[in-house]
Each structure stands twice: as structure tokens, then as C-alpha cells.
Amino acid sequence: MTRWLHRHMSSAWLAGVFAFLYAPLAFLVVFSFNSTRQDAQFTGFSLRWYSALVGDNRIVDGFLLSFKVALCSATLATLLATMAAYALVRSGAFRGRAWMSAMLNAPLVMPEVIIGMSLLLLFVGFERLAGWPDRGALTIMLGHTLLGMAYAAVVIESRLQELDRTLEEAAMDLGCRRESVFFLVMLPNMTQALAAAWLLTFTLSFDDVVISEFLSGPGVTTLPQVIFGYARRGINPSIYAAAALLMLVVTVCVVVFGVYTARLSRARAAELARSVRDAG
């Protein structure tokens, strides 16, 4: 009896929460096909917002800018986070280690408003002293990198801690240099974590509005800023169409990535089993 109750309550709770999580997404998809600008009433089916999307320069430009910024900041953040994680996990003790760890993690627990404002003050101060940089894509990218690095470091650090140290020591015993150990032994075992970190920081940057609002200059608006502007004045349903298309792309990517990694890990497990058998 209790088991029956437990199982049904479990499915009901899971289903309820998933319904809550996906209700807004369903809303976006449905209303991207709406025939009028109404944002609460479905008045009829149409594709007009999809065709309007192509001609909307603000959305297209915002998308391109966000994409570029996210690309750069994700790459930079992953690179820096890998170095920082390696320094913290595998470089032994060095002076300022505790400080580095604290500074690396601090942006995780800092409201974005504070991050955005303190960086704005930095850039303004710098601009006064050196006449550079102007606020724009570069400053937004740097801001996103600071935030992304914190998230990327969490992912990469935990992967580094899981790595089998004996493999690295074996490689070194066999005469492998330390930097080769990183590239030949550790990196191949970290690719999934690095990909996850990159994807996470890309998403963070692509979706961020608060830091961008603080750090952007005149004429520079990322996609979320365009959306935020529309959202406060009443939405343009072309945005829904953009979101629906993006959802489609993401879902396809996730499915492909999921199938690929599942196949990869199955192949790896098989290979491991084979080598264990051969050795035995």
C-alpha cells in the first residue's frame, strides 16, 4: 500500500513540477503562431511572426552580437577556468591559493547587479585614465567572462578531482613530461567536462541581461537587451518565433549530443572490458 502510494505520488510530483517548468515554453511556442499581437489570447494560426523575424534588424543584429560575445567569452572563460582549476587542484601549494579559490567562486554568490556595477566602475575609471575601452561588445564580453569563469571552474575542478592520479604518476614514471601528461593523459579524460563548461558559459553569456545592461554602450544591444526592451513596452511576437526556433535547434543538438556521448561511453566501456579480459 505505501509502496503503491509512494510510486504514484512520485510520478505525480515529477509530472507536476515538469508541467510547471515547461508551461512557459509551451506558451512561447503556441503564441509564436498567433495571428495577432495579443499576448494572452490565441486568436488564430499564422506564420506571420516567423516571416517578420527575417526582416527585423534589431533582433537579427542582437542575435549576431550575442552570438559573437558568447563565443568569445565562453572560450576565454573555459581557458582561464581550466588554468585556474589546474592551478588549484594539481599545482600543489602556492602563495595566495586560498585567495584565488575565494575570488574564483565569489561571482557565484554575488548578485549580478553588483558584478555589473563594480565592473562598470572599473571600466569607467580605466576610460578616464587611459581613454579606453569604450563601453560596448568588448566590455560586455569581459563581464560575461568573469561570471562564466566561475561556473566553468566548478565543472572543471570537480572533473579534475575525479581523475585518477595514478595514471598521471605512471605516465611521469615512464618519462612523460608534466606538460605532456596534461595533454596526453588528462585532457582526453576531460573533454566532456570542458565541453559542458564551454556550453554552460556560452548559455550564460547568451542569456545574460543584467551585466550587459550595465556594460553596454550606445548602439550596442545584445539579443537579451532587445528582448528586455520589447518586454517592458509590450512584446513583439517575432521574439516568440525566435525563441521557438532556438528551442528546436537546442533540442536537436541535445538529442544528437546525448546519443553521441551515450554511444561513446558504451564504446569506451566495451574497450575497457576487452582490455581487462585480454590482460587477465
Binding site: S91, V109, M110, M117, L146, A243, M247
Partner: protein, 313 residues
């Protein structure tokens, strides 16, 4: 270890300062320095003419001196007519704390059972369900919040449903009040609660639960006496991850909040860009860090460390 690297003298000796130094320098420049500037501007007053803040070193009557002003902090607490705690800053602070607290409680009430059931589904489904928790992240956060505006509107789905069920004749006001704020914030931050809780619960030692069962404890009692206490560090981590961003939330109140729902993030923004009062905006940020964020982060770390120590045999 050191012996081995001596035997194989390598590039590493030259690379190490770079690997450690580059991220360190980056963090110093983009995290520590801005924080220092924030601190420094919070202890000056507004500059003369159009200067948004005054310099610390000033020459007055031919003498150079350091001028530290705490009036920005005082002006947060005392209104111009002398009333203690009667400023809009204190109100915004209290409101932010209220929303952050209620959102954390709601996320815990919804998210704990969710993470618990998720951790107990069959492993084959688990990865898929976990992916489904994270999938909405890839749709614009702004649009997901904005969608609630349509769902909760007078002609929206919820009100239509309520009226169709005959629960109400008139549409109920669901938007621009506490209800819509809490829905929006719970919606956005629920995954931040679920993920650390899940990570914690999925690692829980099932043998302890079985032992409790064998010794005659009911499922309910086992849950409260074994499962919940063991997941303490996950509860704290999730709560901190929800509470802090909620406190400084800027977007949700501006989309789903009414005219009264002014939270601290918005006040910082207004001081910065509307009043151009940089010292006060800095003082607001600093007080938020010192009073709330730093203690919470410290508490979180302490609990995590204790949990890690307990897990060691």
C-alpha cells in the same frame, strides 16, 4: 613528486607561473580591483558639478588630506527628516529579504520532494529527467519570465480555467503583485535548488535507509530521521544558490512586479543611472555584501566542509 619533476626537467617549470599567474592576475584585475573601487567610492560623497564621486585625496585650505565620508551609509538608514529606518532603501531591503526568503522556502518545498523522487527513479531514466530539468535553461530566461505575464493575465490561461470551472466569475488579479513575483522567482530559481539537492540525494547511502526499515522505522520516520539530516549540506547549498540571486533580482520585478515591488537591485540601478549618485549605489552594494552575502557564503562553506568531514570514514 618533486623528485620526479627534478629528474625530468621540463617546460613545466617555466609554464607553472603562467598557469597559476594568468588566472590569478585576471581575477585580481576583474574581481578584486572593481570590488576595491566599489569600496572606495562608497566612502566618498558626490563630487562637485557633474563628477559622480569626489576624490579621497583633496586639498582644502592648502592642506592635503584624506577625506572619508560615511554619509552614503548613513543616508541608507536615516531619512532626510531624521527618521530612523524610514528610507526607501530600508523598505527595498526588507522587501528583497522577504521575497528571497519566501522563494527559498517555496523552492525547498517543491524542489526537495522532486529531487528525492528524481534520485530514486530508475538510473536509465535519471539522466534523461535530469536533462529535462536543465533544458529550459537554453531558452531565454527573459522570455520564460515574460511568458508568465501571458499565462497569468486577466484573459490568460489560468483565469480562463478558473472561470470555466466556475471558481470565479470575474478574472482574479494574478499579475503585478506578490503572487506573480513569487511564481516568477520560484520558477526561475527552482533548478538551482533541485540540482545540488539531487547531487546530494543520489549519493546518499541507501544502506542507512534499509537499516532504519529493518529496525522497524516507518517510511515517514526514516525520511525525517535519516534522509533529511543526511542531505543537510545539499539543502544549505541549494538555499544559498536560490536566496542570493533572488535578493538582487532585477529582471523579474521589472516584468512581473507592480509599482510597489521595488527591490534592492532596482534601487541600485536607479541610484546609479537616474540619480547619478554613485557613492550611494556603492554603499548599497557593499552593505548587501557585508550584511547578507558574506555571512551566507561563510555558513554554506562551513556546512559543506563539515559534511565532507563526516563522509570520511
Amino acid at each position: 613528486m618533486s623528485l620526479r619533476s627534478d629528474l625530468a626537467p621540463s617546460l613545466w617549470g617555466r609554464l607553472r607561473p603562467l598557469v597559476v599567474g594568468l588566472p590569478f592576475a585576471w581575477l585580481l584585475f576583474f574581481f578584486a580591483l572593481p570590488f576595491g573601487i566599489l569600496l572606495r567610492i562608497s566612502i566618498t560623497d558626490m563630487g562637485e558639478q557633474l563628477d559622480p564621486f569626489a576624490s579621497l585625496l583633496r586639498t582644502v585650505n592648502g592642506q592635503l588630506g584624506v577625506f572619508v565620508q560615511v554619509q552614503s551609509f548613513i543616508s541608507l538608514l536615516i531619512s532626510p527628516d531624521g527618521g530612523w529606518f524610514e528610507t526607501l532603501y530600508v523598505d527595498a531591503y526588507a522587501l528583497s529579504l522577504k521575497y528571497a526568503f519566501l522563494t527559498t522556502v517555496l523552492c525547498l518545498l517543491i524542489g526537495y520532494p522532486f529531487a528525492y523522487f528524481l534520485a530514486r527513479t530508475r538510473p536509465a531514466y535519471r539522466a534523461l529527467l535530469l536533462l529535462m530539468v536543465m533544458l529550459p535553461f537554453w531558452t531565454s530566461f527573459l522570455l520564460r519570465v515574460y511568458a508568465w505575464k501571458g499565462i497569468l493575465a486577466d484573459e490568460g490561461v489560468v483565469n480562463r480555467l478558473l472561470m470555466a470551472l466556475g471558481l470565479t466569475q470575474e478574472p482574479v488579479q494574478l499579475l503585478y503583485n506578490d503572487f506573480s513575483m513569487l511564481i516568477g522567482m520560484t520558477y526561475v530559481y527552482l533548478p538551482f535548488m533541485v540540482l545540488p539537492l539531487y547531487a546530494n540525494l543520489v549519493k546518499a547511502d541507501i544502506r542507512l535507509v534499509e537499516a532504519a526499515h529493518d529496525l522497524g522505522a516507518s517510511a515517514w520516520k526514516t525520511f525525517w530521521l535519516i534522509t533529511v539530516p543526511l542531505s543537510r549540506s545539499g539543502i544549505v547549498a541549494g538555499s544559498v544558490l536560490v536566496f542570493i540571486p533572488c535578493l538582487g533580482e532585477f529582471v523579474i520585478p521589472s516584468l512581473l512586479g507592480g509599482a510597489d515591488n521595488i527591490m534592492i537591485g532596482r534601487v541600485v540601478w536607479d541610484e546609479m543611472f537616474s540619480s547619478n549618485n554613485w557613492p550611494r549605489a556603492s554603499a548599497l552594494s557593499i552593505s548587501m555584501i557585508v550584511l547578507v552575502i558574506a555571512p551566507l557564503a561563510w555558513f554554506n562553506q562551513r556546512v559543506a566542509r563539515k559534511a565532507a568531514a563526516e563522509r570520511m570514514p
